[in-house]
Amino acid sequence: MDFLNAIVALSNFVLVPAIAYGSQLALGALGVTLIYGILRFSNFAHGDTMAFGTMATILFTWWFQSLGISFGPLPTALLALPLGILGCMAIVLLTDRAVYRFYREQKAKPVILVIVSMGVMFIMNGLVRVIIGPDDQNFADGNRFVITARDFKQMTGLDEGLAIKTTQGITVVVAIIAVGLLFWFLNRTRTGKSMRAYSDNEDLALLSGINPERVVMITWLIVAALATVAGVLYGLDKTFKPFVYFQLLLPIFASAIVGGLGSPVGAIAGGFIIAFSEVTITYAWKKVLTYLLPEAWQPDGLVQLMSTDYKFAVSFVILLIVLLFKPTGLFKGKSV
């Protein structure tokens, strides 16, 4: 019984939140890694692209809600998601036409593109604030919980409860579907293969008749879709605030770099590594150990490796260690 309690406590406070957070980071990191692999620069505007896509989705959600359309127990935002993705695709293609294409034709160095993407970041940042404002927006509706802590306790008779939010469930399911589709597209379709060829060797790809503008356009479309999905899932699970999305850029880049920039599998692994390290290393193990150990050995202290103040430092220490020993990341991406 105590053993079960320990597992439930650990799941409730570590496994479930970390898996949901990890999925959100993984989707964000996939977008960053695709841009890096195919367009060959670090896209600093990614956090704000997520914010823009989410904002578009929120606006459509409110419109649906005002029309009285709902998705039963699931959030209405899922219905609005495809429209939000279209909105995000439009803005992303527009910036590519207006900004990035010019530098591509100049064969600008990656470092110049990075700075250009920072400019785009600030403009999108402002755009989102002008349209929806800098405040919190709560747009989740439908059932909040798959199972609440209280119901779980009553069902199982355990002392510890396990709560699973609807949004956490949706996050994991949608993330699996999105990643499955992406891998199928990259490995099985002709366009996907031409994207990978372009990523591996640009000159060779051009010689074999691949149209570079088409590859670039499709990359942006996929990135817009991934960014919107990641942003909406994050916003549903937590809350939508433009400033928070701007700050999300850091853990997302950490995930992509730990996994290996340019490697999609690495981005997913990196997302989960960063999420789990933030939650587990600062976790206080007292409760779990109290259930597991015989009474004499039970700890008085919190058994916490370090205080939660340091949780952001943790992801960056991991990033540093990985870069020191494997400069291309865990899954052999491109060197930074």
């Binding site: 970390a18 957070y21 919190d136 939650v279 976790y283």
Partner: protein, 395 residues
């Protein structure tokens, strides 16, 4: 010639009489420009109301009059605050300073002007706990309670409800850390146990790591020293979602209507406190303020009225406008024993003091001073009942 001589002596004699009934100048040093500029005008008007009431009564120091002089401390610029207060003391020759406004400016004025020149100052609004321990030579008082006080009140509030273990999280800034530390100390002293004292950062969207640690440490309630529109809300949301805590304790930064709209009956039975009082004095003051043409319910306006009144009444009690003479009288008139004095009764207070009697000044903010010369502070206790914030008492 003889007549002229007589007239001159008469004039000198009159002049001497006027010297006894002098014009007493009082400084009002507030942040009239800067981040809190919108709060300053009602505070200054509160202080000027007290000065006018005493001046117009004609009973102050053998018919002396009071003139208030304003100075701008800017709130954030310590050197500007020092210069403004220096001007009050050396050029206007004020007998006392009602101010300063922010804790930082107050510390600067106290160290650089009030102590070196030996002038009493009473701040209506500086709440930093650091000002309680500053070496002030008896020149500094405040009608605002220290945040350290709120920690004690919160500890009592929790223990009175029979909750003996709590987890504590605070927003990582001076307000959060100061209040959390003073609370933890008071709570332990009174027999409670704080299982964990962990910071959280504002503006982050993922608080599962913090909730994991807080929940593992356990406790019958979670004390959230934060801001309701910032990280505090995220913490409460995550704690409710994981079922980690059902009961929360909220200090002043968390008490707002947002609690009702965002959480409602999910946090049924949670409680907290915010500075304020519901005394008879406050309603009298609000009436007086209305007649004078300003809003007496504005924050720290009642405290400003009281700060000015206390200084002038202490002068009356000491029979001198010299700071060194009257600084010792302030504690006496603020506390019992004596006749209770409400706003609008300052003339009566002056009479009692002139006859050598005792007064217990209550004023607009129910003044009760504790060592070292600051307001004990009264707090309104709130509780969530049926999803609404309700006042349940005053401490």
């Amino acid at each position: 010639m003889k007549k002229l001589f007589l007239a001159t002596t008469a004039a000198i004699a009159l002049g001497a009489g006027a010297a006894a009934a002098e014009e007493v100048k009082m400084g009002i040093a507030l942040g009239f420009t800067g981040p809190l500029e919108s709060l300053s005008p009602p505070m200054a008007e509160g202080a000027e109301l007290a000065a006018r009431e005493i001046s117009d009564s004609g009973k102050f120091m053998d018919g002396s009059t009071v003139k208030a002089v304003r100075a701008d401390t800017t709130c954030i610029d310590a050197s500007a605050a020092t210069a403004a207060a220096e001007r009050l003391v050396t050029s206007d020759r004020v007998a006392g300073i009602m101010g300063a406004m922010c804790s930082g400016a107050t510390g600067a004025v106290l160290q650089n002007v009030a102590i070196p020149n030996g002038v009493v100052m009473i701040s209506p609004s500086a709440t930093s706990p650091a000002l309680s321990t500053v070496e002030d030579n008896g020149y500094f008082f405040r009608t605002a309670p220290s945040d350290a006080r709120q920690g004690v009140i919160m500890a009592e509030n929790i223990l009175d409800r029979g909750i003996e273990t709590v987890a504590l999280t605070y927003t990582n800034n001076d307000y959060g850390k100061g209040l959390a530390d003073s609370f933890a100390e008071a709570y332990k002293e009174k027999g409670g146990t704080v299982t964990i004292n962990a910071a959280h950062e504002d503006g982050k969207a993922d608080y599962s790591a913090e909730i994991g640690a807080l929940s593992s440490a356990g406790g019958d309630a979670l004390v959230v020293v934060g801001y309701v529109d910032q990280g505090g809300k995220g913490i409460v949301r995550a704690a409710l979602d994981t079922g980690a805590f059902d009961t929360f304790v909220f200090p002043d930064g968390m008490i707002a209507e947002t609690l009702e709209t965002d959480f409602g009956d999910e946090i049924e039975g949670s409680f907290g406190q915010k500075p304020g009082n519901e005394s008879e004095g406050l309603s009298l003051f609000v009436e007086l303020a209305k007649e004078a043409g300003f809003d007496g319910t504005e924050i720290f306006a009642p405290e400003s009225y009281d700060a000015m009144a206390l200084m002038l009444l202490a002068m009356q009690a000491a029979g001198s406008t010299n700071s060194d003479d009257y600084k010792g009288k302030i504690m006496d008139i603020a506390n019992a024993p004596g006749e209770q004095i409400m706003p609008g009764e300052l003339g009566k207070a002056l009479e009692i003091l002139a006859e050598g009697g005792d007064i217990d000044y209550q004023g607009a903010s129910a003044v009760e001073f504790i060592e070292p010369g600051e307001s004990a502070g009264s707090y309104i206790e709130m509780e969530i009942k049926d999803g609404k914030l309700e006042t349940v008492g005053v401490r």
